[in-house]
Structure formats: C-alpha cells, structure tokens
Amino acid sequence: MNADDTLLDVRRLRKYFPVRKGALQRRVAQIKAVDGVDLTIQYRETLGLVGESGCGKTTTGRTILRLIEPTEGSILFRGRTSDRDDGEAMIDVATATPAQVKLLRRDMQIIFQDPYSSLNPRMTIGEIAGEPLKIQGLMTRSEREALVLDLLRAVGLSPDHARRYPHEFSGGQRQRIGIARALALRPQLVVADEPVSALDVSIQAQVINLLQDLQEQFGLTYLFIAHDLSVVKHISNRVAVMYLGKIVELAATAELFGNPKHPYSEALMSAVPVADPDFKAQRILLQGDMPSPMNPPTGCHFHPRCRYAQDICRAEAPVYRAVGDSHFVSCHRADELSLRGLRSS
C-alpha cells in the first residue's frame, strides 16, 4: 500500500455526546459513541465498517463528514482547500474553517439508510438530485437540469421521473434518487450508511450492483457502513469491525473473514444465519447484551462477553496494533488464540 494512495486518514477520532438532565441541563454523563478510531481509506477502494446497533459506526461516518463535530482527533482528507486547488494536499477536516468545509463537501458525500426520510416530500426528484449543485452555486439552471437528467439515467431511473414527487416511488427507486443526489457534485468519497438495510431482499441486490457499477464508472471510494456481514463481505475490499466505539479489528476482507484475530469478529461471523440448511455452523453464542457506551466496562470493552477473557483483559485496555500484513486488531491474546473463521470452500 502506498501512502500516496491514501484518500482519508482518520486518527484517534473521538466523539462524546453529553447526557444532560434536569432543569439546568447539567451534564451528568457522556456517551462515548466514538472512542478513538484509527482508519485509512485508499483511493477507489471500499472499506466496510460493521458492528451492531449502538457501536458507533454511524457516528463515525457522520463525524468524518463533519456532520457531527468531532470531540478529538484528526480527519486528514485529500481534498481541495480553495476553488482553484487541485486537491493534492491533505487537509484536516476536523479543524477546517466553515468555508473550507463547504468546499470539501464537493468531495465527500453521503447516502442514507432510510429512503423515506432522506427525500423531502415537497420537492421533485429533479430538485432533490440537483439541490447540492444549487447549494454550491455551481452551473446555471439549465446546465443543472441537464446534469440531473444524466444522473438519473446513471442510477437507472428515467429522465421523465424528474418532475415527479418522492411518494410516487418505491423504496428501491427512492434509494436510487438518494444516490443520484450524492453523486451530483462528483465526490471522491461516499459514505454509504446502511444503504440497503431498509430495502426488500430482492431490491437490495439491485442497489448493491448499482453501487458497484457507479464505483467503476465514477472512480468512487466508499466507506460502507452496515450491520449485515454478508453484504459487507460482498462489497468491501477491506473490513473494519467496531464494538462499543472502538475498531476491534481491521483487515482485507478475505483475511478478516478467513482468519479473524478478535473474538468478537469470530462470534459475529458465527451468529450470522446462512441460507443453507446443511450449513451446520458452530454457533458461538455471546452472553448478554452490548454494554451501554455511557458506562463501558474496564479494560477491554468486550471482556464481559468474551469467552477467552483473562485477568489482563479486565484490567488493561488492549492496544490497537498490526498483527500481520495490514491486519490490525485490538486484543491482548490475538497472537496466542486460534480463532475460527469462515473456511473458503
């Protein structure tokens, strides 16, 4: 991997949400939604980010786009810092000025999970897809309209849909509209936040295929956030597993699924139901629920549910470190444990 191929380099990212209570809105606690995340994304790759609800994966995506203000850490992104900039230098999104952020928005976009709430019911499809161009003040009205028609075609809709309203469309079509909007500014990076999990099974495949085609066509880089391991495995080049605000493991897809190094990754894989009645998975049942991010366990956050936990796990937080070729894990016992991955068949 060449450092010059790095599009995004996130370091020690933290986001703590204050919990306020009472008439005076005193801060009584904080939710450590993102608690020290390090990751990099290369040009034109897809990095999958998986985890269960409440693990902080969505907050991570939003914070990288600075839709949520980070509490700490840096988000280095290769993007333009002025109108004339060709975007060769790394800029820290976390500390960029509002004007810089507005320019950066042209290079980083988002696709949402919910295809219903993500489209304003009072705007036409054309207006929705063209809104980013309008906000950025790019192009004249007629240029915009022409571009919108191209976009709609690119995402598999018909140009005469431009005058219709969102309620006339199905979930899958709405998701295509959301994708068209995200692509309007021709971004480098697209954060796809659970883009298929609200869709019907037979529609999911359409959208996954579309995302892959568009990546090819526009040279996109994806941060693909999902809770569905099968989807992540299918679409990602590399995968990061998150648990309680931290990345516990990150590796190339085949490496992670074939040779997991973190007990949580192992359990997560074994819990996924496989659509084959003869596939007799040996389930590793995790005990209990994920603890509250308001009050995470001591030491390794995963130790109360981990079947390999030892004294050190309860006492000390493990260091996030490399254990092989671009394989990162945060587990005290990563070297000694031999965990079960999915055998390739």
Partner: protein, 277 residues
C-alpha cells in the same frame, strides 16, 4: 386544486364549508345587505316580536336585531381574522427561530410558552384587555396573543422534527447554510400544520371574542357583537326571550361550521389522522 378535489369528498365538510363561505360573504357585504340601519333607535318598536318588518324582532331600543346580527358577523370576522393572522405571524416566527436556533433561546421561549399554556385562553385575553383596554385593537391583540403559544409549539415542533430529517442532513452534507434550510426545507413543511391549526383555532377565537364581549370587555356598544347582544338580552329574558335567538343561533352556526371545516381540512391535509379516527 388537488386539495379542493380531495376536500369535496368529505360531504359534511363540504356542506358546512358552504355555510361558512356564506357567513363570510355576509360579513364582507354587511353594510349593503342589512334590511334596516343596525344603529337606528326606534322607541316605538322596543321589544317588537319577530314580524315581517323585523324578522328576528327588535331590541330594548327598538333596533332591528337581524341587522345587528349581520353587522356583528362582520365585526366578529374582522376581529378573529386579524387575531388569527397576528397569532400565526408571532407564533411561527418565534417557534421557527426557537426550534432552529436551539440552546438557551429555545429553552427560554419554551419555558415562557409553557407558562402561558397553563393559563386558560380566556384568562390571558382578559389580562391583555386590562392592559390594552377594551378597544378593537386591544381585543385583537388579546385574542391573538392568547393563541400564539399553540402556533409557537407547532412551528417549533415541526422545525425540530424536520431538522432531524435526513434530507436536511443531506443538504448540510452538500454545504447548505441555515438560510437555505429554513427556506427550502423547514418553511414548506410548516405551512400545512399551521394552516390546519389556524382553521382549528378559528372557532376558538370566535367563542373567545364573544365571551369577552359578553363580559363587557370586548367591542364596546353601540357596535354590535353577538356576546354583547346576548348579555343585553339576558336582562330582558323574562319580558323578551326572543332577543337571544338571533345572536345565539348565529354564533352556534358559525362556530359549528368553522369546527367542521377545521376537522375536514385537517383530514384532507393529514390523511394519516383519518385512518386512526
């Protein structure tokens, strides 16, 4: 157009909508359609019972009650419309700003609104009349201010919920500023619930306007108002019970129509509610 087509499906709403339109027509043309001068005193016809000359009879000064009821319609429509507009403007401005700005501005505005909501509307109106005096403007401000908290709450509520919508986040992700979001996303979503609330508020305003004038705190005589006419009629309940018929009927029909129209508008604009009810 689509609204009218769907609205007309609701039969009750359509009929009472027609009645309400008729009443507004009467209000707009009151000067020209009164059969007699509503102010003209005629001591020969004091307490005259209903007749061809005075369809609803005459009052303690021999004034034609029908004409006074018609003029009172105009007075009521004028006051309540003005109060409604006043309430909508103050309410939407404060609510939208508070909701979008958040922080202490919002807390302060909402604490104040909560305080006001503890008090019944008529009480608030009475207090404002104490300050502003029982003039037409005073009554308008009183009624409007008393209703403003409802609009503040709705405007703030919609602003807060729209602010959380993903399409707003999408706009922010595209670099949109506060002005763009308020104008393109929040404002268009506020208009529907505000129209619904305004139509639902109308009958309440009418009731409160006439209650104030019944108490003698509203429009002052000789200008007629339904509540005030009923107050006067009360003193002659034994000798001339027919005095209450005209103003009471006009008031109840107006309020009933306005209520039914309000319900119909709400159901037309919020079809979800209908499925529940």
């Amino acid at each position: 157009m689509d609204f009218l087509r769907r609205y007309r499906r609701d039969k009750v709403g359509a009929y009472f909508g027609a009645i309400l339109l008729l009443l507004y027509g009467v209000a707009l043309t009151a000067q020209w359609i009164t059969p007699a001068d509503p102010m003209a005193i005629n001591l020969n016809e004091v307490f005259a019972p209903p007749s061809w000359r005075h369809w609803l009879g005459a009052d303690q000064f021999g004034r034609d009650i029908l004409s006074r009821v018609i003029l009172a319609t105009q007075v009521t429509v004028k006051i309540t419309s003005a109060a409604c507009i006043f309430a909508v403007l103050t309410g939407v401005t404060i609510g939208m700003f508070a909701g979008y700005r958040g922080g202490w501005v919002e807390s302060a505005a909402m604490r104040a609104t909560d305080m006001l909501l503890i008090f019944p509307i008529i009480m608030l109106a009475i207090v404002v009349v104490v300050v502003a005096g029982p003039t037409e403007t005073g009554v308008i401000i009183a009624l409007g201010l008393a209703q403003a908290p409802q609009f503040i709450r709705i405007a703030r509520g919609v602003t807060l919920s729209v602010k959380e919508e993903l399409y707003v986040e999408a706009a922010i992700a595209a670099g949109a500023g506060r002005a763009h979001i308020l104008a393109h996303h929040i404002w268009p979503n506020i208009s529907t619930p505000i129209i619904v609330q305004a139509t639902l508020t109308l009958p309440v305003l009418v009731l409160n306007a006439s209650a104030l004038s019944y108490l003698g705190l509203g429009v002052q005589p000789p200008t007629p108002e339904w509540g005030q006419m009923l107050n006067e009629a009360k003193d002659h309940l034994i000798t001339a019970p027919h005095l209450i018929v005209g103003p009471a009927a006009a008031l109840v029909v107006f309020v009933l129509s306005a209520n039914l129209v309000g319900d119909a508008v709400q159901e037309t604009l919020n079809p979800k509610l209908k499925k529940q009810k």
